[in-house]
């Protein structure tokens, strides 16, 4: 087995690992509110979301063999840069998962690639305007758009149904919430699995395994769909808890309004070519659902933690991406990439072990929120 093939295999495994973390990090986007309101049992919710993500990955197959398109010079993208960028994105996904913070996987991946590119080709290879227009501006606008839609939607839902019997209202909105959450899951599958398909396709082209025009191999589609679905099924319970319980206490009408807002903002932004982060939209919708209900409390401390995390996503992932690229180059060749890969696996394993000490799972994800903005402190109501 030659060095190029080993490098390709490592990149493919790392890309699928990123896809897996993307899945479990983003389960919360669609299902946190359904779990919090009891519309779906936790295990059923993640299973439904996993199936819809899997199906979604097959629905839209216009896969682009690009990474950070319009943000870094395509000529600067080598397999090692892609690998280091993935490591940066992976590391940020895992750290934010540990702290239960919803955070954009796409922005983390872009950050990782930007960091690796900066070290590999210098600042001239990074397009500042692209970074602002593709990442920073949408990151500011996504939550605002979702907050506005969800606030108005929630207010209207409560006003209109104030005379509807509680039983009918709760049952009706539970059904509606499951529908809108399913739509968000499906949209997530069509968007996010394709990123991994594009990266693997790009790696295969760079290695000469396939040609530029041969399209994405079927095994790549199946593997990417499986990885994101498996990640979704594992369920990022820590993030689910923060989004479902931490930001505000959600009732079924609020959950329905929040998921409807998320689905429409995501789909209209897709349609009009102004892509917004699913995570930031869904988080904004939950905040809006809290604002739209009279006397509901939004925990701004938790929201502020998320805001800070979104601000540092790009530089933090870029730093890890640059370090990963630097370390791989320092050691040199395929061995350098393998050493960085092993270091990433060890980091992930240590973080997983640390998370076991304060595990959040299907059994305690809905326990009373005890404050201080962390999902790791759970207390079962007596």
């Amino acid at each position: 087995m030659n060095g190029d093939l080993v490098l390709l295999i490592v990149v493919v495994i790392t890309a699928l690992s990123f896809d897996f973390t993307n899945g479990f990090h983003d389960t919360a986007n669609a299902m946190a509110t359904s779990i919090a309101t009891g519309a779906l049992k936790p295990k059923i919710a993640v299973a439904l979301s996993a199936v819809l993500n899997f199906v979604g990955a097959f629905l839209s197959l216009k896969v682009a063999a690009t990474i950070a398109n319009g943000i870094v010079d395509s000529g600067a993208i080598t397999l090692t840069v892609v690998f280091a960028g993935l490591v940066g994105g992976l590391a940020w996904n895992l750290v934010t998962w540990y702290y239960g913070i919803p955070s954009s996987s796409s922005h983390a991946l872009i950050g990782g690639v930007v960091g690796a590119t900066l070290l590999a080709s210098g600042i001239k290879a990074v397009k500042g305007e692209g970074l602002v227009s593709h990442v920073i501006v949408p990151a500011l606008l996504a939550p605002i758009a979702a907050i506005v839609v969800a606030t108005v939607g929630t207010y209207l839902v409560y006003v209109l149904t104030r005379k509807v019997g509680e039983r009918t209202r709760t049952k009706g909105f539970k059904i509606g919430q499951i529908g809108s959450a399913s739509l968000v899951s499906l949209a997530h599958g069509t968007n996010d699995a394709q990123k991994t398909m594009g990266i693997i396709t790009l790696a295969l082209i760079a290695n000469g395994t396939i040609t530029q025009n041969s399209g994405t191999p079927f095994w790549v589609i199946v593997c990417s769909a499986t990885a994101i679905a498996a990640g979704t099924y594992v369920g990022g319970w820590r993030v689910i808890r923060t989004l479902g319980k931490g930001l505000t206490e959600i009732e079924t009408p609020q959950g329905f309004a929040a998921e409807t807002s998320s689905a429409t903002v995501i789909l209209t932004s897709t349609h009009f070519g102004f892509p917004l982060s699913t995570t930031q939209v869904c988080t904004g919708s939950v905040i809006g659902a809290g604002l739209g209900k009279r006397l509901a409390e939004v925990r701004w401390g938790v929201a502020a933690r998320m805001g800070v995390a979104w601000l540092i996503t790009l530089p933090a992932a870029a730093l890890v991406g640059a370090l990963a690229f630097g370390a791989a180059q320092l050691i040199g060749g395929t061995l350098g990439v393998i050493v960085v890969f092993v270091a990433a696996v060890v980091f992930a394993a240590l973080l997983y072990l640390a998370s076991r000490k304060t595990a959040v799972h299907a059994g305690n994800v809905n326990d009373e929120w005890v404050g201080r903005g962390t999902p790791t402190q759970v207390r079962t109501p007596v």
Partner: protein, 66 residues
């Protein structure tokens, strides 16, 4: 280069507001209808739910069309 595609942005905002708030309102009116206990109410509620389903189908179309 423009940092913000203002044209796409306002379209997203208006369409999201109409779509998101509209579907939430239609679903709510549907619940009022089916819980009214009258035939006219149930029929009106059913029409509202059908419009919501049409909105969902439009969403799926957008996903497939991109």
């Amino acid at each position: 280069m423009s940092y913000i595609d203002v044209d796409a942005l306002w379209r997203v905002m208006v369409a999201s507001l109409i779509g998101g708030v509209g579907i939430a309102a239609l679903f709510s009116v549907g619940l009022i209808g089916v819980s009214s206990g009258r035939v006219v109410g149930r029929v009106a509620g059913g029409v509202c739910f059908l419009l919501v389903v049409a909105g969902v189908l439009l969403g799926v179309y957008v996903m497939l069309d991109k």
